[in-house]
């Protein structure tokens, strides 16, 4: 113990920390380079593995074997194999290169599984639709499958790289000057092992664990949404041409209009899912700024959206679906979160399904869970995007009932719906949109019974005739 105390000033003041920092950067660079190259190669591997036809069977077998084998041998063995193999082939290869190759070979095996999982998560119907248009396999993958699989692939791939930084400690064994090697060197120079490895452990753990820590910016301000002159584009097509409306607390606004009029886009823009190219959104007197991902997150923190496809997490129970974000993202107290989840499930009439998985629920029940899940985050405003459109007519009623109860509770909502009877009943204000513009707005009675514009008149008379 005295030894540590005596050495500590010398250890922390000398060039040692700089050396350790440099080698930490080397570790990082090595891992990043290896993982990035490996990630690219893994795509090739997955693509080869999917090659159809009998002639490609050996190819597929090789790919499968590669992944299976590399997942079953220790990294240190891979390092040694690469080291001695490369040194027999080109004796003057640098140790850094060798380390990167070893990391890369290993990363290929692990990320290939992640990529395959991501690609398989894209519904087969999407691929069939692409094939029906005569897209080649490569085109289908590049244009249809990959863009959809990307969000599924990237997070676990990054998680793998981050955790693999730890395993690269093993390359110290072959003499690469990375963090662990430096540590051992310092230990050999007579510094206390507790001091050296304790410092390294503490530093790595601090930096790796700091990655997800969000300040809780939740404020209980008055929810009052003002949307003014909001514009949005898909490519060069302007889908929102200056939308303005406002909601008081506890009000319900319904957006109605023909398909493609931009109703859903308004909701998506509010959530920051579709970039806003102009205009302002004020929530509770504060300007929401969608310029950075942090600002978008702050906006999402205060609103919640429910989609036509309920998008429940398939691997979780109803309860887990409800508590995931409050516990993991907001880090609220478990007991409170669970109590609130129970209350919400009671509200939507699903108290008996707390531990069911989503595939055990009907569409209507799933949609009600999705409603409760959105509410579990205590949003200031709830956005509902055609929540009943994917449901059997029989099941529509139960979801609408749940929304009615929310309305009775004073929840502020923006609803996009084709259920005109329902809109008329619950909405305080109806906004009629067409081709990215607001044509007319007013109370339900005004719009449904005495629309002022021809376009609205046409629309409502067509609908009401059916």
């Amino acid at each position: 113990m005295e030894r540590i105390l005596e050495q500590a000033p010398r250890f922390f003041s000398g060039p040692n920390l700089t050396l350790l920092f440099e080698s930490a950067m080397l570790t990082l660079g090595m891992t990043l380079a290896g993982c990035l190259i490996g990630f690219g190669l893994a795509f090739v591997l997955v693509f080869l593995r999917q090659t159809p036809g009998l002639w490609a069977l050996p190819l597929r077998l090789v790919c499968i074997t590669y992944v299976e084998v590399f997942r079953r041998i220790p990294f240190i063995v891979v390092i040694y194999l690469v080291l001695f193999f490369i040194q027999t082939v080109t004796p003057d290869a640098s140790l850094f290169t060798i380390a990167v190759i070893a990391i890369c070979l290993y990363a290929v095996a692990y990320t290939a599984d992640i990529i395959r999982g991501g690609l398989e998560s894209v519904p087969a119907t999407q691929v069939e639709a692409a094939q029906a248009m005569n897209l080649s396999r490569l085109q289908t993958n590049l244009r249809i499958v990959l863009p959809q699989a990307w969000p599924v692939i990237v997070p676990p791939a990054i998680a793998f790289a981050v955790s693999f930084i730890k395993d690269t400690a093993l390359v110290s064994q072959v003499g690469v000057f990375e963090l662990t090697f430096r540590g051992k060197e310092l230990n050999n120079q007579g510094y206390s092992g507790i001091l050296v490895f304790g410092t390294i452990a503490f530093a790595t753990s601090f930096y790796l664990s700091r990655s997800v820590f969000w300040a809780n910016t939740w404020r209980n301000a008055l929810p009052h949404l003002a949307v003014s002159d909001v514009r949005a584009k898909y490519g060069s097509l302007e889908v929102l041409k200056g939308i303005s409306f406002s909601i008081e607390k506890g009000e319900i606004v319904a957006l109605v209009g023909p398909s493609g009029s931009g109703k859903s886009t308004v909701l998506r823009a509010l959530m920051g899912l579709t970039p806003i190219t102009g205009g302002d959104v004020d929530l509770a007197g504060e300007r929401l700024n969608y310029s950075s991902s942090r600002e978008v997150r702050a906006a999402r923190d205060r609103m919640a959206i429910v989609f036509q496809q309920y998008n429940l997490f398939q691997n979780m129970t109803v309860m887990q679906n409800l508590t995931l974000a409050p516990l993991k993202i907001k880090r609220w107290d478990r007991a409170e979160v669970e109590a609130e989840a129970r209350r919400l499930l009671g509200l939507v009439g699903l108290s008996d399904k707390i531990d069911a998985y989503s595939d055990q629920l009907s569409g209507g029940q799933q949609q009600r869970v999705a409603l409760a899940r959105a509410l579990a985050l205590k949003p200031q405003i709830l956005l509902l995007d055609e929540v009943t459109s994917a449901l059997d007519p029989e099941l529509v009623g139960e979801v609408l009932d749940a929304i009615r109860k929310l309305a009775a509770e004073g929840m502020t909502m923006v609803i996009v719906s084709h259920e005109m009877g329902f809109v008329r009943e619950v909405a305080d204000k109806v906004v009629f949109m067409d081709a990215g513009q607001i044509i007319e707005a007013g109370t339900p009675a005004e719009l449904f019974d005495t629309p002022k514009t021809d376009r609205a008149q046409n629309f409502f008379s067509n609908i009401l005739r059916h």
Binding site: I73, F75, F197
Partner: protein
């Protein structure tokens, strides 16, 4: 490249490699078993414990899961003698691996704990079960089923990645044996090729064993491959 592979010398020393494989297997089983006990304790504390203990477990998990296993084992190996504890290399490795596995298993088991229905635990309470009994008779059977595949996977990780770290502090497990033997006659490539194959075989046996165990004992259809 005019390298001639000579596997003859490897086969001559194959019994020693087998010994190494046996030690690897033992280390893997013991580290996993020890880690499972630590993880069970950690998960139980995280779920039911008072906040100071929860904080302690959280710190343990965050610290261990965010540092390289090698650094942890070096810490024990180079650090402990300084405070007068002289453990054998095997003991250092085993304790390091157990602590390491304990943290990851806390996370895995904790997920299982949460998945248990509260109503079932309440039913257990009304039957007068103690906390230990609730865990033993209600929580554990649930966990066994829901997280068995994750546990089986993690066992392979301990068996392969975990134990091989021992080679770096002079434990003669499979990788260690390969390093020892090949530094005698410099047949590194041959030795490591064979050892890689042995790891594959070892883990395949373990995977199949675990799949059968899962099916018979826990009635889980674990997809191992």
């Amino acid at each position: 490249m005019n390298y001639r592979f000579q596997f003859g010398v490897v086969w001559e020393n194959f019994p020693q490699l087998l010994e190494g494989a046996w030690l690897t297997f033992q280390l893997g089983v013991f580290a996993f078993a020890g880690g499972a006990i630590a993880g069970l304790l950690g998960a139980a504390i995280k779920t039911y414990g008072p906040w100071p203990l929860r904080l302690l477990v959280d710190t343990y998990v965050v610290f261990i899961t965010n540092t390289p296993a090698l650094i942890q084992i070096y810490f024990l190996y180079f650090g402990l003698p300084e405070v007068g504890l002289r453990w054998s290399n095997e003991a250092c490795l085993l304790i390091g691996l157990t602590l390491n596995a304990g943290a990851y298993l806390t996370l895995i088991l904790r997920a299982g704990f949460i998945s248990v229905r509260v109503t079932e635990i309440e039913a257990g309470q009304t039957l007068g079960m103690s906390l230990i009994q609730q865990i033993r008779y209600i929580v554990m059977p649930h966990i066994a089923k829901s997280i068995y595949p994750a546990l089986a996977n993690f066992f392979i990780v301990v068996l392969v990645m975990g134990t091989s770290v021992g080679a770096l502090i002079g434990v003669d497990e499979l990788t260690g044996q390969a390093i020892n033997l090949s530094s005698v006659n410099y047949r590194w490539l041959e030795y490591f090729t064979v050892v890689a194959g042995m790891y594959v075989v070892l883990t395949f046996i373990a995977s199949i064993g675990l799949a059968l165990l899962g099916r018979w004992v826990f009635r889980v259809k674990a997809r191992i491959f």
